[in-house]
């Protein structure tokens, strides 16, 4: 038997080489995909964890109230506990601690009876978190630096010594003397939000639970951490953060560490015992590892789907090759049967030969898949994602390659022992029924697969399931089978038309294409390969577009600078200069809708920007052809607020009078607006309404500010009766270049909650030689509680009424709101009435959330007329920033964290956890093209060899070789063209119905916005042109060779 196989292999080596080639291609594809879902996925997990943001992997231990004597041991034990939890990864730790409040010398905070308190803080890496403004860093025990604002408020300069009084503790802790050696400015994004006063430097009416009454708190006095720990002061809060070095991470260690971190709370509590009142371990590391793992599974599911598609393609190619082989060996098989070879012996021979082919293919495919995989990792996007690896063989790859080769060999064996229909057989009724049944089953499976995908949950489901893995292959195979059914009638139609020609070549070619018994396997392979290649290309585009859409909607704009601290007037100009884009302050935070807080852990979001520039600022797909300019058209105010120009540093003068003898005071609050729309307010001192001019502090701290509102809370002794008050605010002239007032509609109102306390509010504007004068007048009812609100508000705009908003579809669904619904949202503690004017699929920067989009100016106006001049801002949003380094320039401002749409898109498309998907897609396209060409060459060669005598006889009819070539080429082109077209149609159909369903988000949930199919016409046209040209070139080469061989020799040996 071995001798027969060996001799036959020598005689039929080209045929066996073709079989071996197909099996090797399939096994290589399988091996490469296996490496993508194992080796690359593992590497991706390691790279992703190594690249994770510190906040995602850091472990922070918070401890509360540590008595001075225990502080050194608690700090040491905490560091030990946290670093041991992160073992075996090396970790670096940083710490910060703040003491409880201590009394400040009264002379530092004069003019108030409220106690002034201060606290000390120690930070490990102070120079990295602050910028030295003046003086030096602490070097010796007792050295301290102050924040700029604290130093300003307490009028402390380097060189001053300050005694911080004894703690109110048992036993008492002695006072501490510190020497101010420098003044620093806090840097954004360096953890200052965790400072007890959030780096504000002071807080009036501060309550920390140790005092019955609120106090005025100042600080921190920043000292060396070791100095603080050894000072004996009671530490109010201490946090130690450990940052693990995950550059050499592996899955097992990561899982161990995640487990340790999750259990660290309990262990730490045991270690610290009663030395602390509170100990808590906080870390996103376990969550990060889980989300990384989820994303890995999401990618693996699609790579597996591509592997299955490659497997189906290979099997189809092998069925074709096997059938052709069996056809060529039909005579030999018949002879062996005639001489008494049993079916079992035939099967044994076929199995032996197929086994040898599988063994050789596996031996070739193992290193080939390693090399191909390594080559892929050296190309974008895997290369860019840092997933480059050297060729290596792993066990699971060998298993997959060998298993795949054996399965394919089994297909060969089955085909070898299957009875071969005689040449020219048109197929029995039973065979036709079987084929129809198979086609029907394919279509049914494809439909079921699509339905399963369509009906899949939109919730997170990262794990690969059978439907998601098999659906593309089922749909494409079903589509190709159906397309094959369509091709024949099309060819018959062409056949009828072709016979109108006068010559022979065209009608003969079309007749050959239309009437010759069709080679189902060849047709299916051509259709399926073309469908797979076009689908691969389109799915790649669809996936990339979806990731881009998700990134755009997730960021909400082109560049978002999320603020770490409250923005200052003039920051907008800085951002604008750095990015050269359309800049707007933005609000992006949780809110409540009426009394509704949202579902658990999913609070409603309120997003507000300058919607007059929605087109430039807002990103993320809306519906159909609509842009954000259309969707936000109803949100923007009809007129812009201009207000009064206030020159930088100009002194504003307030003068007020009141009727009667009751002494009244107003504490003016002024709202300034800069060119980007940012509004900042400043509060002046209490001004008695006694007719004297009072200069207000310089509220215009930057150029280009305009006064847009003034709030005048009137306070008086508790007497009753109405009092007429008149207040003038003189704004110095802005100079000749700029008009101070430009026709704003100044309006006076009385702020709630009891507007009737201020009646007849009025405001007028006039210009004098000294500047613009704003005259405000009202009648104030003095009765009632002494802290009752009596606030006269003058604004450069009228009361806007309910703020028009666009709500997300989910908002509309969950709240039951529709266009016209009137609701209210709460910002801080101020409720703002809103009216729904638009329902949009989702709101920028809040994908899929219950969210509200509003105009920030309108929100501010609605708050101002209630007397709330605070302007809530969480970020700067920048549209169309100039240049690729705009993000770097914005980061360099140290205002907060910068996120860009481009960077997010790059993360979603080329990040290590996702790069495997486009990598695999780029594998399937050439693999499909290669198998298609191989199938075409095999089929045409065998077809023409079988018809060699027929071709020679055409010469006998007087047809020239050129004519015969034209007929044969036309015949195969006539079959290939509709098959390729049908394959492309199947690919397009699969792209339309299944590609969007295969795209999932990071968590495995349905992406937001929903993926839309994209058919890249130029790329698809180029691919089809290449496939067609490749096929025709291959056919032309085979035809030329065969026609050259079609000579009299064939006629001599012909029957």
């Amino acid at each position: 038997m071995l001798r027969l196989v060996s001799r036959r292999a020598r005689a039929q080596w080209p045929l066996l080489a073709a079989l071996l080639g197909v099996v090797t291609i399939g096994a290589t594809l399988l091996g490469t995909c296996t490496l993508l879902v194992t080796r690359t996925a593992e590497r991706a997990l390691e790279v992703a964890m190594a690249r994770a943001a510190p906040a995602a992997v850091d472990v922070t231990v918070y401890t509360g109230t540590v008595e001075g004597r225990d502080t050194p041991s608690v700090a040491a034990d905490t560091r030990t506990a946290v670093t041991s939890a992160l073992a075996p990864f090396p970790a670096t730790t940083t710490a910060r601690a703040s003491t409880v409040l201590r009394a400040l010398p009264p002379e530092l905070a004069p003019g108030t009876t409220v106690p002034a308190q201060a606290y000390l803080s120690g930070l490990d890496d102070l120079p990295a978190r602050t910028e030295l403004v003046t003086g030096r860093w602490p070097q010796h025990p007792g050295d301290a630096v102050l924040l700029e604002s604290t130093a300003h408020l307490l009028d402390l300069t380097p060189g001053r010594r300050v005694r911080l009084g004894a703690e109110l503790a048992h036993p008492p802790v002695a006072a501490i003397d510190v020497t101010v050696v420098g003044v620093v400015r806090p840097l954004a994004g360096r953890g200052w939000e965790r400072d007890p006063l959030a780096a504000a430097g002071s807080a009036t009416g501060y309550r920390d639970g140790r005092f019955l009454q609120p106090v005025n708190a100042y600080g921190p006095f920043l000292v060396d951490l070791a100095d603080l720990v050894d000072s004996g002061a009671t530490v109010d809060r201490m946090e130690i953060t450990a940052h693990p070095d995950l550059s050499q991470a592996n899955r097992r260690d990561l899982e161990t560490v995640a487990g340790n971190v999750s259990a660290a709370d309990r262990r730490l509590a045991g270690t610290l015992g009663d030395r602390v009142t509170l100990a808590r371990v906080a870390s996103d590391l376990p969550l990060t590892l889980r989300s990384v793992d989820d994303q890995r599974h999401v990618t693996a599911a699609v790579v597996l789907a591509i592997a299955v598609l490659g497997g189906v393609l290979t099997a189809t190619a092998l069925v074709l090759a096997g059938r052709l082989t069996a056809g060529i060996r039909a005579d030999e098989t018949a002879l062996r049967s005639a001489v008494g070879t049993s079916r079992r012996q035939l099967a044994a021979t076929a199995t032996l030969e197929a086994g040898l082919v599988a063994a050789v293919a596996a031996a070739l495919a193992t290193p080939a898949s390693s090399a191909l995989h390594a080559g892929l990792t050296h190309l974008p996007p895997l290369d860019d994602a840092g997933l480059t690896v050297r060729p290596a063989v792993v066990g699971v790859q060998v298993l997959a390659v060998t298993g795949g080769a054996l399965v394919l060999a089994a297909v060969l064996t089955v085909l070898a022992i299957r009875p071969v229909p005689a040449a020219g057989d048109r197929g029995t009724r039973r065979e036709l029924l079987a084929r129809s049944g198979a086609d029907l089953m394919l279509v049914v499976f494809a439909a079921v697969g699509w339905w399963q995908l369509y009906a899949q949950s939109t919730a997170a489901s990262p794990r690969a399931d059978a439907v998601r893995v098999l659906a593309p292959a089922m749909l494409l195979t079903g589509g190709a089978a159906l397309a094959l059914r369509v091709v024949l009638p099309a060819l018959r139609g062409a056949d009828r038309l072709a016979y109108r020609a006068r010559g022979l070549a065209l009608p003969l070619a079309v007749s050959e294409a239309a009437r010759r018994p069709q080679a189902v396997a060849a047709g299916l392979l051509v259709g399926l390969a073309c469908a797979s290649a076009t689908f691969g290309l389109a799915f790649d585009t669809t996936w990339h577009r979806s990731q881009s859409d998700q990134a755009a909607l997730s960021v909400g704009t082109d560049l978002a600078l999320t603020l770490g601290t409250t923005p200052l007037a003039g920051d907008g100009a800085l951002v604008s200069a750095a990015t050269s884009g359309a800049v707007s302050p933005a609000l992006n935070r949780g809110t409540t809708v009426g009394q509704w807080l949202g579902t658990a852990g999913d609070a409603p979001r309120l997003v507000a920007v300058d919607t007059t520039r929605a087109d430039a600022l807002l990103r993320g797909r809306v519906d159909g052809d609509r842009g954000w300019a259309d969707a936000a058209a109803t949100l923007a105010p009809r007129t812009r607020v201009t207000g009064l120009a206030v020159p930088a540093g100009a002194p504003l003068v307030l003068n007020g009078t009141a009727t009667g003898d009751t002494p009244l005071t107003v504490t003016p609050r002024l709202l300034m607006q800069d060119a980007t729309g940012l509004r900042t307010f400043c509060t002046g001192p209490a001004v008695p309404l006694d007719g004297r001019d009072v200069r207000l502090p310089a509220c215009a701290t930057a150029d280009g500010l305009r006064l847009v509102a003034v709030a005048l809370p009137v306070t008086a002794e508790p007497v009753s009766g109405p009092v007429a008050v008149a207040v003038t605010l003189t704004v110095p002239s802005a100079g000749s270049a700029e008009s101070s007032a430009d026709g704003s509609d100044w309006t006076a109102t009385s702020a709630p909650p009891v507007p009737s306390r201020v009646s007849d509010p009025a405001v007028t504007l006039s210009t004098t030689s000294t500047g613009t004068v704003l005259r405000m007048a009202a009648t104030v009812e003095l009765g009632g509680a002494d802290d009752a609100a009596r606030t006269l508000v003058a604004s450069a705009f009228p009361d806007p009424g309910p703020v028009p908003v666009a709500v997300s579809a989910r908002f509309a669904d969950e709240v039951g709101a529709d266009s016209g619904s009137k609701l209210s949202v709460t910002i801080g503690i101020t409720p703002v009435p809103i009216v729904v004017t638009e329902v949009v699929p989702t709101v920028p920067s809040a994908p899929g959330a219950v969210a509200v989009l509003a105009d920030l100016d309108m929100l501010s106006r609605a708050r101002v007329v209630t007397g709330d001049l605070t302007f809530p801002v969480d970020a700067w949003w920048v549209g169309d920033p100039a240049g690729p380094d705009a993000a770097d320039r914005a980061t360099a401002l140290h205002l907060g964290t910068v996120t860009t749409r481009e960077a997010e898109t790059a993360r979603l498309t080329g990040g290590p956890l996702r790069a495997g998907l486009p990598g695999a897609l780029r594998l399937i396209v050439p693999a499909a093209a290669l198998l298609l060409l191989a199938g075409v060459v095999l089929h045409v060669t065998c077809d023409l060899q079988a018809r060699a005598v027929e071709v020679a006889r055409l010469r006998g009819l007087g047809m020239s070789r050129r004519g015969i070539r034209a007929v044969l080429l036309g015949q195969h082109a006539g079959v290939l063209l509709p098959l390729l077209a049908a394959g492309a149609a199947a690919g397009a159909l699969a792209t339309r119905v299944v590609a969007p369903l295969l795209v999932r988000s990071d968590t495995g949930a349905a992406p937001v916005p929903a993926a839309q199919p994209h058919w890249p016409w130029p790329a698809e046209a180029a691919l089809l042109a290449v496939l067609l040209a490749g096929c025709l070139l291959a056919v032309a080469a085979v035809v030329t060779v065969q026609v050259r061989r079609a000579d009299a020799a064939h006629l001599r040996v012909a029957p």
Partner: protein, 240 residues
């Protein structure tokens, strides 16, 4: 039959190399065939009959010698000239009929007329006439697989006559037919040769065919051994 020879074969040699050995298929074959005659070419299998017909029809080129068909030296024609020769002057009838399987009887017969780019109306008339001539007018739309062997060979003869050739070469035309069908096919050939004035060279081992021929040329191991028509023939030892 007397007159100018339509076919003149002079000193034709043809050798084939089969691995290390050389087979001499034709060794200086020379003969003439006058126009309108029917010549039977007989010989054992491998004697060179098919090679000689292929050389005459220009499907094969001799190593030496010349072949003149209707005054044209076939051996000097290039590919296009040979194709033109076969379209206009020489046609073939093959043992296995040589019909194009995907075409109907009508379309097969029309094939040479399409090659000659005959006008459709004239082509249809000619095809109808020929199918009627060979008695297959009722089977015009059927494909070869739907016809019997005899019917297929009749279609092949009709196709061979379609372009009104001067010379018809038939290679064992009855080889795959039973005796009765073979006889009717041969009678048809004979009748056509007479009615259409076509010169017929037919290779055969059929004694009846030899009897119908005007002249019998026996070929043996590449040499000719001519025999007068109508003389008794020894049965051939095997068929080609």
């Amino acid at each position: 039959m007397n007159g100018e020879p339509l076919l003149r074969v002079r000193g034709v040699h043809r050798r084939f190399r089969t691995g290390p050995s050389v087979v001499h298929a034709l060794r200086g074959v020379s003969f003439d065939v006058t126009a309108g005659s029917m010549v039977a070419l007989v010989g054992r299998s491998g004697s060179g009959k098919t090679t000689l017909l292929n050389v005459i029809g220009g499907l094969d080129r001799p190593d030496a010698g010349s072949v003149h068909v209707d005054g044209t030296d076939v051996t000097t024609l290039d590919e296009d000239g040979l194709s033109r020769l076969r379209r206009e002057k020489v046609s073939y009838v093959f043992q296995s009929f040589g019909l194009i399987p995907v075409l109907s009887a009508t379309e097969n017969v029309a094939a040479p007329l399409r090659l000659a780019r005959m006008a459709p109306a004239e082509r249809e008339r000619r095809v109808e006439l020929l199918l009627d001539l060979v008695g297959l007018a009722d089977h015009a739309g059927q494909r070869p697989a739907e016809l019997s062997g005899g019917q297929q060979q009749r279609v092949a003869i009709a196709r061979a006559l379609a372009a009104s050739p001067r010379l018809l070469l038939a290679d064992e035309p009855t080889g795959q037919l039973d005796a009765e069908t073979g006889l009717s096919v041969m009678a048809l050939l004979r009748g056509i040769a007479e009615s259409e004035g076509v010169t017929v060279v037919v290779s055969t081992h059929d004694a009846v065919m030899m009897a119908l021929a005007d002249r019998v040329i026996r070929i043996h191991d590449g040499h000719l051994d001519e025999q007068a028509a109508g003389q008794p023939h020894a049965p051939m030892p095997d068929a080609e």
